[in-house]
Amino acid sequence: MGTKLLSGYRRKELAWLYLFVAPPVLGFLLFGLVPILFSIYISFHKWDMLSDPQWMGFANYKDLLADEKVFKSLYNTVYLMIGIPIGMVLSLLLAILMNRKIAGISFMRTIYYLPVISPIIAVSLLWQWILNQDYGLLNNFLWEVFGITGPNWLGKPEWVKPSLILIGLWSGIGGNMVLYLAGLQSISSTYYEAAEIDGAGAWHKLTRITIPLLTPIHFFVIVMGIIGAFQSFSQIYVLAVDGGPEYSGATVVYYIFQHAFEYFNMGYASAVAWVLGILIFIVTLIQFKLSNRWVYQD
């Protein structure tokens, strides 16, 4: 009798459990799996959403391999990743400076974190004004302090990407700084005490203890940074209108967006999106494979 009662309870419990996990599973099917399968289908068609889809075979994929703009936007996207290592160095430095108990530190933390939470659209508008060639704050600063005539940041093809990296650094280092700060606080002080007894200086402590013990965070920052860079769109939409001069600012997602929602080439856009998706997948996979060679695990 007792076991029967229990199994009755268990049956009820199982029903509840499946009910509890059903929404995300359903969401995954409706907004993940089905769209993905549909996307494969579209990518083999020509479709403007008005007439019927037209079977194209691999034509979309062949076309994109010959499409200069695909490679240009891919190059631009990868170029923006230069900001990742620079940002890591800066945010680690900030975190080290902040990792001490002094009055005013939490206020400092807030200031550096503010750009992280600011809407990317507003941040882009603000920087567009700051980077104005003649009247922008940055070029005025460069002229008055260093006597340098600043470039036409967003107007010259060779300066668009450095501008985007600069903006990315300003708006991103606060976030990584917080991660590093948490990492630093989790390092046991015994490591440093032992090193001090052995006569290690500040540089040695940094390069032999701090940086190696923070490798899980370096890894996280790199993986997320690359995935994020592959998907950058909003700042491009505002700062590099129509892809910027000579398409120097367009990213792959921007290119996909243009084809899908400006020219309504749904099939071609889907093919490019697939290539991007596979690329992100492969790069992330390689990083995870390589991670056990350099990421510290305790």
Binding site: E13, L17, F20, V21, P23, P24, V25, G27, F28, L30, G32, P35, F38, I42, M49, R100, I102, I105, M108, T110, I111, Y112, Y113, I117, S118, P119, I120, I121, A122, L125, L126, Q128, W129, N132, D134, Y135, L137, G174, G175, V178, A182, I217, F220, M224, Q231, F233, S234, Y237, V238, I256, F261, M266, A269, S270, A273, W274, L276, I280, F281, T284
Partner: protein, 278 residues
């Protein structure tokens, strides 16, 4: 001890120096937004607007249905956050504290969704939603969020595994509590801090979202605040009306900054948690 104090001082000085570069763009934006259009192009730049005017804010507010924009963003955020968070908490509880057939497969499948870039699903989703005639409504931005968020599920599940002893559930069972009863009376209060941290992050993500709203919302009255602000740029950049654009940027920033100051602890905590566990 003395050396320690000197490093403290130097650190603070360096941080102060850096913070000038972090704050200057904000101050410059505020300053520009309060200037008269004629005084914007002065060289060297004037930090204190003279004359000082709030006219740009009034103009921006009149020119564009910003109040609608705020309401639309708010509707999306409130519905997605309340329903989405509850749904995520429920499945995190089931995944984190119980065993059931196919649990591993289901969870792995969900984790797989984290790998799918939005750019791959955005086109088929758009086609699907346009078939339902949902384009130019808020529905495509709300409905997918009601099914929970895998990132939130992942972190809450992680949190529950260490924060909620299984004996607690066993004891409640013996006391005769029902399954949903245990969830709402015991589990939900336990996960409150983790939930708050995730809600803070989600708020930011939804409020600042741009690509989705840009694709779906076309009528100005139906757009979210971000899309409206972005379209301001197209309207005023030709006339180089920077005071107007900067006023718009400030209007878009203020709500997030207010929320941030009230929930600062949660933001910084959730950022830190996501990094360490990831």
């Amino acid at each position: 001890m003395r050396r320690e104090r000197w490093t403290d001082l130097w650190s603070l000085l360096l941080l102060l120096f850096g913070s000038v570069f972090m704050v200057a763009p904000f101050l410059w934006t505020i300053s520009t937004s309060l200037k008269d259009r004629r005084n914007v192009f002065e060289i060297p730049p004037q930090w204190i607007p003279d004359p000082f005017t709030f006219g740009n804010y009034a103009m921006v507010w009149q020119e564009s249905p910003l109040l609608n924009g705020f309401m639309n963003s708010l509707i999306i955020v409130v519905i997605v956050l309340t329903v989405g968070m509850l749904v995520s908490a429920m499945s995190a509880y089931a995944f984190g504290k119980f065993e059931f057939p196919y649990k591993g497969v289901l969870f792995l499948g969900l984790l797989g969704t984290m790998m799918i870039p939005y750019s791959v699903v955005m086109i088929p989703q758009y086609i699907g939603f346009s078939r339902l005639d949902w384009v130019d409504t808020l529905l495509p931005l709300i409905i997918p969020g009601l099914f929970g968020n895998i990132v939130v599920i992942f972190f809450i599940r992680q949190y529950l595994q260490s924060a909620m002893p299984t004996e607690l559930i066993e004891a409640a069972k013996i006391d005769g509590s029902s399954f949903p009863g245990i969830f709402f009376k015991i589990a939900l209060p336990i996960m409150k801090p983790a939930l708050a941290a995730q809600a803070a992050l989600s708020f930011m993500g939804i409020w600042n979202d741009f690509l989705g709203p840009l694709i779906y919302l076309h009528t100005p009255e139906k757009q979210t605040i971000q899309v409206l602000i972005a379209s301001m740029q197209a309207m005023y950049i030709g006339q180089s009306d920077y005071p107007m654009i900067m006023a718009a940027a400030i209007i878009a920033m203020v709500p997030v900054i207010i929320v941030f100051f009230f929930c600062q602890r949660y933001f910084i905590e959730s950022m830190a948690i996501s990094g360490i566990k990831g």
